[in-house]
């Protein structure tokens, strides 16, 4: 039993998600991510149960842990009361902590997650903002959404959910600065800020410099596909 497994074992999400897996495959059978990707929740449970650090490290460096859609269909159906989805959360935190996330294409998307919605809570007190759902990155929302996006303020007034007001009846109001300070302190104290910092650092180490990290980010902003950034 190595260091990585030991750390995984300390995680409450691992403790609550793993009651011994009988390798029945029910989770993989119901898993939407297993259907569309090279991913099997049963395999993940097998690897962590091996308690073998080498195998766990390989898993943390792979795309696999990032395919899970966090639907928890596996939790509902597992005959042993396991929750692969929770084990996945523990593995992802470990991958970020050790910088292993930056070794895989899907893992590197964590930089995008951090910058697109991770920081929103610290700035506005919401994880998602109206501006996040832009037509260029969500073309499937169609032309009606484009119109809405161009007329966001008026449309929201019209629907009775105005935005950016203090204590407005609708959503997307401004949260008072004193409350925002409380939220920032909570994010600092509970490790969320350092988790997000670890993403920036891990990417810098992998890509070689801060400038390269910005290039990766710009590529995604412009093309909506991080694979267009080529890793040297």
């Amino acid at each position: 039993m190595g260091k990585l497994f030991n750390e995984l074992k300390q995680d409450i999400l691992y403790q609550h998600g793993m009651n011994a897996c009988l390798n029945c495959g029910v989770c993989t059978a119901v898993c939407p991510a297993a259907e569309f990707n090279d991913y099997s929740p049963r395999e993940v449970m097998n690897i962590v149960q091996s308690e073998d650090d080498e195998l766990i490290e390989e898993l943390l460096k792979s795309d696999k842990i990032w395919y899970c859609g966090q639907c928890f269909s596996c939790k509902t159906r597992c005959p042993r009361g396991n929750s692969v989805a929770s084990v996945i959360l523990a593995l992802r935190r470990l991958a970020i902590h050790y910088g292993y996330f930056a070794e895989s294409e899907k893992g590197r998307q964590q930089l995008i997650a951090k910058r697109v919605f991770g920081e929103n809570m610290l700035k506005r007190g919401y994880t998602l903002l109206a501006q996040n759902i832009s037509p260029s990155h969500f073309p499937e929302l169609g032309e009606n959404w484009e119109y809405y996006y161009d007329h966001m303020r008026e449309m929201r007034e019209w629907w009775g959910v105005p935005m950016d007001l203090e204590n407005s009846p609708g959503s997307h109001r401004m949260i008072p600065e004193q409350d925002m300070e409380e939220v920032r302190t909570i994010y600092q104290k509970t490790g969320a800020v350092s988790l997000m910092d670890a993403v920036e650092k891990g990417m810098e180490k992998k890509l070689g410099s801060k400038a390269e990290v910005e290039k990766y980010w710009q590529t995604w902003l412009e093309t909506g596909d991080s694979r267009n950034y080529e890793i040297k």
């Binding site: 998307q109 919401y126 959910v161 959503s171 008072p176």
Partner: protein, 348 residues
């Protein structure tokens, strides 16, 4: 036998949510959803109108409550510890600043997240202690746990409140779903993480079916009814991953079409399902040249329509990808036919 099993499952998953005529049922604290407010804001708008105007519920919201952070938790930018303290802060504000004891959330992921932290506090005294201490240190606030359903530590979802009041809503409805085939798609984070906290559990969820039945719809079943919509947090967030979302929606709708080609209404209670099961039908049409034309409405939008609210101005049908007029015609809901579809959707 089949029915007996169903009834038994229902008994096990009975959840007590007070209606407006029961103690505590006419004063609620509500937690707004960052997902709804960014991707389907009109839903909150019509839900407020129904709860306040039609059910006479007093809703109290604190200026300082924030979103729960759970999109970031499942999207891997924060920790369980963060979730616990943010939840405790929101609970504390609702109780001590707003004086409410009953709370619901508008987002199913918030609902699951609040349920998760409440269960952890019950099972792990260390985590309860950590949360109390950290809340005090970071905000100076007092810890408080809501007990909404049956007096045990719990919160509920906004659709539960609609369900609890469904008969009253059906009595007030101007239109009915008689002769309309419909089905539900219950959000994974409503029914699958803690089936015991869902109306009817994961096997026979009643929360949306109950509403549909109260409004007179004929409920249809199909093989992939419980398949996830594929929202997936980091999957729907980035265009490069959205094939997963589109694939999941395709699988569901193809299954519905095969079983019931004449069912064109799916009722939802999750912002993710509501937005993506609609939007991805556009992608599928473009890529595979296959049209499903199934209207995806959430419980508040549908209730609003049946109560006689304006389909566009109040119920926000402007921003949908699937044209809604065929469904309105089928139910018999009037709308301004002198305007073009585009004019109805673009008021400015």
């Amino acid at each position: 036998m089949k029915l007996a099993g169903k009834n038994q499952a229902w008994e096990r998953h009975q959840k007590q949510v007070p209606s407006v005529d029961e103690p505590g049922g006419n004063l609620w604290g509500c937690f707004r959803s960052c997902f709804l407010q960014s991707a389907a804001p009109y839903t909150e708008g019509v839900a407020y109108k129904i709860l306040k105007n039609d059910l006479g519920i007093e809703l109290r919201e604190a200026p300082g409550h924030t979103s729960c952070g759970a999109i970031g938790y499942h999207g891997d930018v924060n920790n369980l510890e963060t979730q616990m303290v943010i939840a405790a802060r929101n609970f504390s504000i609702a109780h001590y600043e707003q004086g409410v004891d009953n709370l619901f959330s508008f987002c199913v992921t918030s609902f699951a997240n609040y349920t998760e932290v409440i269960k952890l506090w019950e099972e792990e005294p260390d985590l309860l202690e950590y949360t109390e201490k950290t809340l005090k240190e970071t905000t100076g606030r007092e810890f408080w746990i809501p007990h909404v359903s049956g007096g045990r530590p719990s919160v509920v979802h906004a659709s539960d409140v609609f369900f609890a009041n469904r008969h009253k809503l059906a009595e007030k409805a101007k239109y009915s779903l008689k002769g309309i085939k419909a089905t539900d798609h219950v959000g994974c984070h409503y029914g699958k993480i803690f089936p015991g906290e869902a109306m009817g559990g994961a096997e026979f969820p009643q929360v949306l079916v109950g509403l549909l039945e109260a409004f007179g719809a004929e409920i249809v079943d199909y093989p992939e009814r419980r398949h996830c919509c594929g929202m997936g947090f980091r999957q729907c967030a980035f265009p490069e991953n959205r094939d997963y979302t589109a694939g999941s929606v395709y699988k569901k709708l193809a299954s519905l079409k095969e079983a019931h080609p004449d069912c064109n209404l799916i009722l939802t209670n999750c912002p993710g399902c509501t937005v993506f099961m609609d939007a991805e039908q556009g992608t599928i049409k473009e890529v595979l040249e296959e049209e499903f034309n199934v209207s995806i409405l959430d419980y508040a939008q549908l209730t609003g329509l049946l109560l006689g609210y304006d389909p566009f101005k109040d119920c926000g049908l402007n921003a949908k990808a699937v044209p809604v007029e065929p469904l309105l015609d089928k139910i018999g809901i009037p709308y301004d036919k002198s305007k073009t579809a585009e004019e109805r959707r673009r008021p400015f």
